[in-house]
């Protein structure tokens, strides 16, 4: 390599990057493809952080108003969670009523989430969920502190992921038989963002804070621990995500199997093995798409047959 071309070798969370710039014939430096990709990844992450922060701040402000000003009319965090629709589902289907603390807002959000996931796959976890936001920031802190990471073996990981379905089943049954929002006493989202601990303290809240602390501590050593192994809403998304129209898909003909897409995945999906759609555990963060160095290898699109049909009709009209 010529001395005039600076060369940086490094390996970040987003993968290997080579020359930062290349000299053009006029002597000006233009960003290399690697640098362009790095910028693309940062742009994607920044956009996601902004959206995540927006939703988290909105929820926090609403919860603070709900707790501090009874007459404010501000919604509770329970009323703003789409999982409430799942929790009340059995009661609603069998009796036509809702369990305590659940309102029509939950049903509306549940419907919105259902439409969105069937249309566009799961971006809720990666872009909207406030608990996901907290876990992302904790992971960022963990990496800055160089804390050890625990990556379970594939078989162990597969078994642990079933924990979400166990929690889902338990929550649905307990909500049905008790007629109450049973999970609210254990849900880290409600504990953190409901802010009850800020205004009162009792045994119930202490237990909830204890559970939440354990989950957050675990998130320092396993990226998105709650999402991977315990989130009941994630379990619902895993089932529904299989039927999404738009999904992240891998074009095996173009893919070079560099596996750069595997590194940034926050939920440990082997994106490089997607055949062609990524695993339905995907949280839609788009870090893999941004990290992919090959144009067209990883894209967001409809099923292959539909894409082929669209391409054919596109060519005919030209």
């Amino acid at each position: 390599m010529e001395a005039s071309q600076p060369f940086h070798r490094g390996f970040t969370r987003h993968g290997f990057y080579g020359a930062m710039s290349t000299a053009t014939n006029s002597g000006q430096r233009r960003p290399s493809k690697a640098l362009q990709r790095l910028r693309d990844m940062r742009r994607t992450t920044l956009a996601r952080r902004i959206v995540q922060l927006g939703f988290a701040v909105f929820i926090l402000v609403t919860a603070f108003k709900h707790q501090s000003e009874e007459a404010s009319g501000a919604a509770s965090v329970d009323a703003l969670c789409p999982f409430g629709a799942v929790e009340t589902l059995l009661t609603w289907m069998t009796t036509g009523t809702l369990i305590t603390k659940i309102h029509t807002s939950n049903l509306v959000l549940g419907l919105a989430v259902l439409i969105a996931i069937l249309l566009a796959g799961n971006a809720f976890c990666g872009w909207i969920c406030p608990l996901g936001t907290v876990q992302d920031w904790l992971w960022k802190a963990a990496r800055a502190l160089h804390l050890p990471q625990w990556r379970p073996a594939e078989r162990t990981d597969r078994v642990l992921r079933q924990g979400r379905f166990v929690v889902l089943g338990l929550v649905m049954l307990m909500s049905y038989f008790s007629g109450q929002l049973w999970f609210a006493d254990y849900d880290p989202y409600v504990t953190i963002f409901g802010l009850r601990w800020l205004f009162e303290w009792n045994e119930v809240i202490a237990i909830a804070v204890g559970i939440t602390t354990l989950v957050l501590l675990g998130s320092l050593f396993v990226e998105r621990l709650w999402c991977r192994y315990l989130c009941p809403l994630g379990a619902v998304f895993t089932v529904l995500g299989r039927f999404s129209f738009l999904r992240i898909r891998r074009n095996a003909e173009v893919c070079t199997d560099c596996e750069l897409c595997d590194k940034p995945c926050p939920v440990g999906i082997t994106v490089s093995k997607a055949d062609p759609a990524v695993h339905p555990d995907c949280v839609g963060c788009l870090d893999c798409v941004a990290a992919c160095p090959v144009k067209g290898a990883l894209t967001v699109g409809p099923p292959v047959a539909v894409a082929a049909l669209l391409n054919n009709s596109d060519q005919r009209t030209r």
């Binding site: 919105a112 969105a116 566009a120 971006a123 909207i128």
Partner: protein
């Protein structure tokens, strides 16, 4: 398909969520609270909610607060007429709004428990 199509995922999500909420708000279907005003003697036990106080429950059902307090079953007498039902759970173990509805149903329909029958 161009790489920029990946933004469809988050954009569609935000659009669907805000769109659905907006439409239901416009239709008057968006409700985040069950706090309707309590009208005296107009409630049924099914209308009892956790945010209501003991006094509101009594007023709504048209009964004395002592009846409601008895149904709550607080041996320490810490619960008062101004205590919200949602705040009773930490005070009275095993208390639930659902059980209160059942207990008040029995009292109002006259099917008292055997221990309440005169000897």
């Amino acid at each position: 398909m161009k790489k920029k199509t990946r933004w469809l995922l988050p954009l569609l999500w935000v659009a669907v969520i805000f769109g659905t909420v907006g439409v239901t708000q416009a239709m008057g279907l968006w409700q985040t609270s069950g706090r309707d005003p309590v009208v005296a003697s107009q409630l049924t036990t099914a209308d009892i909610k956790g945010w209501m106080t003991v006094q509101q429950v009594a007023d709504g059902l048209g009964i004395d607060t002592a009846v409601v307090l008895e149904a709550v079953g607080d041996p320490s007498n810490t619960v008062t007429a101004s205590t919200a039902l949602k705040d009773i759970e930490p005070i009275v173990p095993d208390f639930s709004v659902v059980d209160l509805r059942t207990a008040l149903d029995e009292r109002l329909s006259g099917t008292a428990s055997p221990t309440d029958e005169p000897t």
